[in-house]
Each structure stands twice: as C-alpha cells, then as structure tokens.
C-alpha cells in the first residue's frame, strides 16, 4: 500500500520536478490489450472561435475505471466533460464511447454538477426517478412496473443514507443531502458512464468527506466508469484509480498518475504519509504548470 513512489515513477519520469515546455505527453496512455476502453479521446482539439480551449488531448478510460481530472482553473476541465458526453462537438479528433463514435449527446450517461438542480416540484424520490422516465428500457416499463422502479430508487436512497427522506421536497434537505439525492438521480438507471463536474465544491469539509465515502460506496456497488472533474486534489486521490493533470489553457494532459491505494478507502487513509505525498506531488505539478504560462 505504501509503494507510492514506485507507482508514481510508473506514471512517468520526473513527476514533481520542473517540467519543460511544451510538456512531454503522457506516456502510458494506451490501455491494456485485453480490455476495450469505455471512453477514448484521440487527439481531441476544441476551439471556441479563435480561442484554443483544449489541445490534442488523448485519453483512454477502461470500463469501471474511476478517473479524476485536475488542473488550474480555466484549463478546460469542464470542456472535457462536455466533449465526452457529446454536448459539444470537437473541432478535430475523435471521441469514442462504448465502442461508438460520439457525434451528439450520448444516451443514458449520468451527470452531477456542483449545483444539485433537483426539481422543486417533485419529491426527492420523484427526482431520483426522473431518469427512469427518460432512459430505455425503464421508460417503457415505468407505468406498468411503477412499484418496482420506486423500490429501485428507494434502495439507492437507502445506500446514500436518505432512506427516510424520499417524500420530502428538495428544499427541505440540506446541501449535502441534496447532493446525495443528486448522485442517486445520476445513477438510478445504472449508467455505464458517470460524469461528475465538481459535485462537492460547494459543500463544507466534513460533508464533503462524507460524500466521498458515499460516492465510493455507490461506485463499488455499480462499478460505472466515472470521470470526476475537481479542484480538490485530496478528493481526486481519494476517489480515483487514475488522476490526469491538465495544463493551463490551452488545456492538455501533462501527466497521468495511477493511485495505488486499495478500496474501500477510508477518511483515515487521507492522513497516511503515502497519500499526503501523492497529493503534494500533484500540487507541485499543478503549481509548475500554472507558473509555466
């Protein structure tokens, strides 16, 4: 468990040391031969008008892999989310999701943002059930199998500790509870892909760490492929199997780090020297990227 240094070396030479410009591309980007990646980006570039937001980004994410993308603000992390889900077409390059070329919004992915965006006219349970009214095959069965679907949503609310709050209105829940419900809504239809755009950024430190555990529990239960965009390096290391570091705008990936810690990870582990060391290395790397403007 404490062989961080060895694994960090595996992630590429010279992590934490000053990096040259242009930054050397990530080395071990190709997936293992026997696994078909769930998400693949090949030389993806995005321009907003003249402005280059994302520059020749290549990534490969395995099924059930939990990745985190960290980087200085404005480096195009959220742009990356929109590209993977097909909400934005890339200027050039290819994006492949589950074996198919992405050329429009993907169908059935789960998404959670900093803002929980629960619908105030629905109860918490009805909010969680929203995807079941939209995504097939649930959509076709929701009328005939209502009880079954409700049970499914209730089970999920139980997992995140909201079992008794299903019939509350969203505004009767605290911020942390709303975000728990939001995670349930994003996962109730058992998506293959879960996109998390700074979902815990607005929460206080204690609530945040509770929710790391909740999210990990959900992941271990459903084993979806997850892409987490975050500013919080501890969060990234706690949750992810692989952390990608992005550079300043134009964003591209400067480093890929494998996180070695076994699961389930516990809040106590975040005080482990190996954990702290990895976080500090990532911090140094981002500091270097920021100053290399």
């Amino acid at each position: 468990m404490l062989e961080t240094l060895a694994l960090v070396k595996d992630a590429g030479p010279g992590i934490g040391s000053p990096i040259g410009s242009p930054v050397d591309p990530p080395r071990d980007i190709a997936p293992a031969d026997n696994v078909k990646p769930m998400v693949m980006l090949q030389d993806v570039t995005l321009k907003y008008g003249e402005m280059l937001a994302l520059d020749r980004t290549t990534m490969s994410i395995n099924p059930s892999e939990f990745i985190a993308v960290v980087g200085p603000s404005g480096c195009g992390k959220s742009t990356l989310m929109k590209l993977v889900t097909g909400l934005l077409p890339p200027t050039s390059g290819h994006i492949i999701f589950d074996g198919f070329h992405v050329d429009g919004p993907v169908k059935g992915a789960g998404m959670a943002f900093q803002n929980a965006t629960l619908l105030p006219w629905r109860t918490t349970l009805a909010n969680v059930m929203l995807p079941l009214e939209i995504v097939q095959p649930y959509k076709g069965k929701i009328r005939s199998h209502r009880a079954e679907m409700e049970a499914k949503a209730k089970t999920l609310l139980d997992v995140v500790g909201l079992g008794e709050f299903g019939d509350r209105q969203p505004w009767q829940l605290s911020g942390g509870m709303q975000q728990r419900a939001n995670l349930c809504r994003a996962l109730v239809h058992e998506p293959k892909l879960m996109m998390l755009d700074e979902p815990f950024a607005a929460l206080d430190a204690f609530t945040k760490e509770d929710l790391w555990e909740v999210l990990q529990a959900l992941w271990m239960r459903q084993r979806f492929t997850a892409i987490l965009v975050t500013h919080d390096l501890r969060e990234a290391v706690y949750l992810a199997d692989t952390v990608y570091v992005m550079s300043n705008r134009p964003g591209h990936i400067v480093r890929r780090c494998t996180v070695p810690f076994p699961r389930p990870r516990t809040p106590a582990m975040t005080f482990d020297p190996a954990f702290t060391e990895l976080v500090n290395e990532l911090r140094a790397l981002i500091a270097a990227v920021r100053s290399s403007k």
Partner: protein, 254 residues
C-alpha cells in the same frame, strides 16, 4: 386566532373608515350629487338598479372571461414557442413589443369596423390587451431553466419535447400564474373600454349612458361592480396558483 382577525380585518376597517370620511365630507361641504354622491346614495342606487346592473355585469364578466381564456391559450403557445426556440424569439419578439406599445383603445374603432359593435369587439379587446404579459412570463420561465439541468436531461437522451414537459413547463408555471394575476385585471380594462366605445351591453355601456343622463351614483355603482368582479377573478387566480404551484411558495402554508 385573534392575530389573524386583526390581520385580515385591517383592510376592511380601512375601507370602512374611508367610506365614512367620504360620506361625512360630502355632507359637510354640501357637494352636489352630480359631482360626488355619498356612499349611502351609491348603495341605494345600486339596489334600485340591481337587475340592470346584474345583467350588464354578467355580460362584462362573460366577455372578459372569454377574452382572457383566449389570452391564456395564445399566450402559453406563443410563450412556449418564443421561450424554447431562439429563432422564433429573434423573429417574433421585436414584433410583439411593437404591438404591445400600441394603445389598445386606439385599435377598438378598427375592430368595430371589422366586427361590428357588441360582444365580439369587447372579447377581442380583452384578449389583445391581456395576452402580452402571459407570453413574456411564460417565455421568461422557460429561459430560467438551469443549463446544467438541460445538460443532465440531454445526456440521458431526452428529446426536446421531454425537456419541455419534464422541466420547462413546470418551471414556468409560477411565472404563468404571476402573469395571470396581471392579465385578468387588464382583460377587464379591455372589455369595459370596448363596451364604452361600441356596445349596447355591459357595464361600460351602462356607465356611458348613465353619464349622459347625469346619473353619477349609477356610474359609481358600475365602477364598484367592476372592481368587485376584478378582485374576485384575481382571487380565483391566486387560489389556482396556490393549488397548482404551491411548491414555489416553499415553507408558507397553502
């Protein structure tokens, strides 16, 4: 209990006081009836002409409600079209603003030329004066849907229609009801103005003919009846709002 009696009793008390001051002032300063009749004289006249008043009030209420109904239908359809498509927004919105800036009274003679006098121009006037706030509010409500929520739904594979029905329309309902409260009072203005200009029925007509015979108390009776109808319809809108979009008034008892 006592507190709520005080709270809801206060407006009535103020109204009573106002009427009292009015009554006393008219009597004290010997104001002639054709300038300002006393409240008691108005009440007396109202009772005396009650059948006439009821008949004309019913006519005004019906034309107003029919015009208001069309305003709701057209307002929602236009509002949804404008709020959910930027192409429709760009092409229609300037036109609507231009149309809304025309004083509707100025259009009544035109409507009379096309439709004759009576009920039809009153309905049309009530409609054109009251649909605009509905359009604007429904469109604004649709525009207030969070972009994140739209992304969540699109990535689930929701169609535009589903985004509209699951989020857009419920989200814009509080805006719709806010506009209905404005629109119903406007609709009364529209129908009464049209009746005053071109009709042989309705409170507007009654008031015009009363004024030509210097029956000032009857004019006041008409004014008060319009006010009562307008307030009642306003309350109906408030009630519907509380029933249908109570979630927008979180924490308040409904």
């Amino acid at each position: 209990m006592m507190q709520s009696v005080v709270k809801y009793g206060r407006p009535w008390l103020i109204t009573l006081l106002l009427l009292l001051v009015w009554e006393l002032a008219v009597r004290a300063f010997h104001i002639p009836e054709f300038v300002l009749p006393t409240p008691t004289r108005i009440a007396e006249t109202t009772w005396q002409f009650r059948q006439h008043l009821m008949l004309h009030a019913w006519q005004t209420l019906m034309t107003t409600l029919v015009g208001f109904f069309f305003a709701i239908v057209v307002g929602i359809l236009l509002g949804v079209a404008i709020g959910s498509s930027s192409a429709v927004y760009d092409s229609l919105y300037p036109l609507l603003i231009g149309f809304n800036s025309i004083p509707k009274v100025a259009v009544v003679p035109l409507i009379v030329m096309w439709c004759g006098i009576g009920t039809v121009p009153a309905i049309i006037t009530a409609f054109i004066i009251s649909f605009f706030p509905i359009v604007v509010n429904v469109a604004t409500g649709l525009a207030s849907v969070e972009p994140e929520m739209k992304d969540v739904l699109r990535v689930l594979g929701a169609s535009r229609y589903e985004v509209l029905t699951k989020v857009g329309i419920p989200r814009s309902l509080p805006y719709l009801f806010a506009s209905l409260k404005v629109a119903i009072t406007l609709a009364f203005i529209g129908s009464v103005v049209s009746e005053t200009i071109a009709s042989n029925d309705g409170i507007g007509f009654l008031m015009l003919s009363a004024s030509s015979r210097f029956q000032v108390a009857l004019i006041f009776a008409g004014v008060i009846i319009i006010a009562i109808m307008s307030i009642l319809m306003f309350l109906v809108c408030v009630y519907a709002e509380r029933k249908l979009v109570g979630w927008a008034f979180r924490g308040q008892p409904t």
